[in-house]
Structure formats: structure tokens, C-alpha cells
Symmetry: C2
């Protein structure tokens, strides 16, 4: 356990003695909001070099600089798992992104389905939200939030080796259990209105698709996302 | 699938031909907000008699009455699982209650621990929130939200036959897997600051306690609640 409480994601190499310039927002947060002075310890990660304890060497609301001391944790990449979901209301979409980071998805893909209400997303806002979640949950890696893509387009280019677990609310009679499996994977959560008949037909026809049932009650999309990520991590991922 | 879209929880017997007076809030919602007229179909459940299709026989913003036609689903009680959690910020506490209902906890117990910030809760507000969640998720049962109780008191009276799964963030090295087990169970989620040393010692000493690990990242309390409920339902509950 380090004495440093604040963890920040940076896009800069980290290593012994490395000086790391912090962004304007981070500088403001550290020195303006948290009132840290030179000599204070923070933690940095960049998704490549693990987590480092760093000392604030230059304070200032604009151009703070921290210098790396020691590596506190090695890089821990989450398993090769994608989460595909149809964006819903703002608060619940934010929630899904936050939970996907905590639960160790490597890539987050908002998808547009027939019954998706949103026809665009604020990718930059969701990516910033993912960064905050990674800073909070102790991850040493930052999942990428992709731009909104049509489910149809995604399916037409689907990689043959990436198993797709499809949370199909019409298969309530199947047990909610995942067979341990290796290799790349993805979870698909539908919109509140479910998938269209065409979409369901197309998904059912793909050999790499496995339907996944999530119990006898109707789950909201955000609950389904957390539940499916949990089942996958506990059976196939890094919770085993 | 019924033609009725709106599901309401009532505290009144349901049965063929039974007239059910609706509360003022429900009457206002049906006739004032949703503009339903006599003859419209709704669904009712009371936690005892399953789900019934009912016809609005008397409209009116105050004293609407619906008359039961046919049972659309039998009563499905969730497994005998309690969720114990330390209340956190309002939005996340609401979220935990909503998710516990969707994921099929039978009883929801807010507990006060050494590091819990809240020293009281609005039990009536949380119970109303649970009711809305039950109406939404198609449950035929409404879990009870208990009053806030001290963890110490709860532990001193803990039923000897109710296995307690303790989400202990210090046991990250254990696999996140539950052995299928029968009988009453409970899940305990700690506050953001974790359990105190005394609390952890006491929990570890109880023979009926099983520590449960939820992977290598730090989960927020709300994420941990959903993840633990999911693992339990998929291994021991009604998702199997």
C-alpha cells in the first residue's frame, strides 16, 4: 500500500526518474482542488508501464510535473473481452461504462441496434468517464471506448475467432452458466426494447454466437451488463 | 404476453372477479398521467397470488378500481437470499436496492458498520423504490427493505443456518467462485472504506461465514452487490 491516495492516468512513458508533465485539468485538480504541494506523492499509470509512485516536483494550476520514484504494481491487462451495448439514457450509459472498466472489459463498443434510441454518443465524454473509473478502481489499464457502430456492420465484419455471448432475453429457459473457454470473447447486451426479429435471426445464425440467459426476471440493460461481465470473469476471465 | 403494459404492486388479495381499489398515487398515475379509461387492461401482483390481468372498471384520479380477469403468471418467490449492504450515497444506494430486486434477493438489509457514513436511511423511500423495481422487472414478489441495523447487533443474533457470503476485499487471492449450496443465504457488502479490523476479525470467526473474492480490481460497493448476487444466483439460486 502506498502513501499516495490519488491515482491518475497519463499518456506518457513511466519509469524510474521519469518526469511526467500533467494535463491542465490534472494540475488544477492536484494543486487547486486537492491542495497538494511539491513533495506530495501520487500514483500514475499509462496502460503500458504498470503503476508508479511519483512525487510532485513542480506544482502550479497549469503545468504540474510529477517524477516517478518506484513501480508500485506491474501492468495487469484485463482479459481480451469486449462489451457491446446499445446506449440508453445518459446516467445508465455512464454506469455501464464505469462498470465495464471495474469488471475488466478491454474494449467497450456502443452499438446501434434497430431499437436503440441514441443515434450518436459523446465518445470523448464516455472515454473520460472510463478514465475516471480506471483511476478509481486501481486498474493499470484503460479500456478504449469505441465510436458508435451499427450492429449490422459489426456483425458483417465479426472476427471468426471471437466468441460472442449474446444476452438473449428470449432464452430464459437456459441455465445462466458459462462453460470455461479460452480465447477472445465479447458480450452483447441489447437495448431496452430487445432485438428485432431480423437481428435475432442473424445472431442465432452466427456459429460463434452463444446465447446467455440471465435468470427468470427481466433485467435492465445496465444490470444485464454487470451480471454478464461477472459470469464471464468468474468462468473464463481473471477472477478464476 | 398480455396486452397490458402497466404492472402495479398492490396490497390486496387477487383472484378471479376480485375488485381491487388502487391507491391515490396509482389512480393518479393510471388516469391522470397514462390517460387510461375504463376497459383498459393492467397487470397486478401482491407477492402472494401471482400476477393477474385486470380491467380498469372505475377510473378517476383518486379512487380507481381494477377487476381481476385471469392469472397471467403464478407466484415466483425468489430464493431465500438476503442482501446486507452499508448505505452509501443516495443514487448508489437506490441503485443497490433496484438491482437487488431485479436479481432476486428476498430481503434487503441496510447495515451500519464502523465505516458507514449514513446513520439513518429513509426506509419508506427505499421500500417505494424496491416496489417500482419489482413492477418494472416482472417480479411477482416484493422484497422487504429493513430498517438500518448495526452490523454488530445483526451478527450477535445471526441465524445459525443462514450462510453469510462476505465480500472481503482483502481476500483477492481466492477464486471468485461459489460452491453450489442449498439453504438460506445472505451476502454482505462492505462500505467504501472497507470493514474495520474488529469487524473483519469477528466475521472471520463466525463458522457460517464464507469469504468471497470478486476479482483483482477494486469494485465500488454497488458493483460488488450486483456481482455477488449474480454469482450466487448462477451457482445456488434460481438462475440454475
Amino acid at each position: 500500500m502506498s502513501d499516495a491516495k490519488i491515482r491518475l492516468h497519463v499518456d506518457h512513458p513511466l519509469g524510474h526518474g521519469q518526469a511526467v508533465p500533467l494535463s491542465e485539468a490534472q494540475s488544477h485538480y492536484l494543486t487547486g482542488v486537492m491542495r497538494l504541494a511539491p513533495g506530495a506523492a501520487i500514483l500514475l499509470f499509462n496502460g503500458r508501464d504498470g503503476e508508479w509512485r511519483a512525487t510532485l516536483t513542480t506544482a502550479g494550476k497549469r503545468g504540474a510535473i510529477a517524477t516517478c520514484d518506484t513501480q508500485t504494481r506491474p501492468l495487469h491487462l484485463p482479459p481480451d473481452l469486449w462489451l457491446l451495448f446499445a446506449p440508453i439514457k445518459k446516467a445508465r450509459t455512464d454506469f455501464i461504462v464505469e462498470k465495464a472498466v471495474e469488471l475488466g472489459a478491454r474494449r467497450i463498443l456502443p452499438v446501434q441496434t434497430r431499437h436503440t434510441n441514441a443515434d450518436r454518443i459523446r465518445q470523448d465524454r464516455l472515454q473520460a468517464h472510463a478514465m475516471e473509473a480506471a483511476e478509481q478502481c486501481g486498474a493499470t489499464y484503460l479500456p478504449e471506448v469505441a465510436e458508435l457502430v451499427a450492429l449490422e456492420k459489426l456483425m458483417s465484419q465479426w472476427p471468426a475467432d471471437r466468441r460472442l455471448y449474446w444476452c438473449d432475453e428470449t432464452t430464459l429457459d437456459q441455465p445462466a452458466r458459462l462453460t470455461p473457454a479460452e480465447g477472445p470473447a465479447a458480450i452483447l447486451i441489447g437495448p431496452e426494447g430487445g432485438f428485432s426479429a431480423d437481428e435475432a435471426k442473424r445472431l442465432r445464425a452466427l456459429p460463434i454466437v452463444t446465447p446467455l440467459s440471465l435468470g427468470p426476471r427481466i433485467l435492465r440493460a445496465d444490470t444485464a451488463a454487470v451480471a454478464a461481465l461477472t459470469l464471464w470473469q468468474a468462468s473464463c476471465g481473471d477472477w478464476t
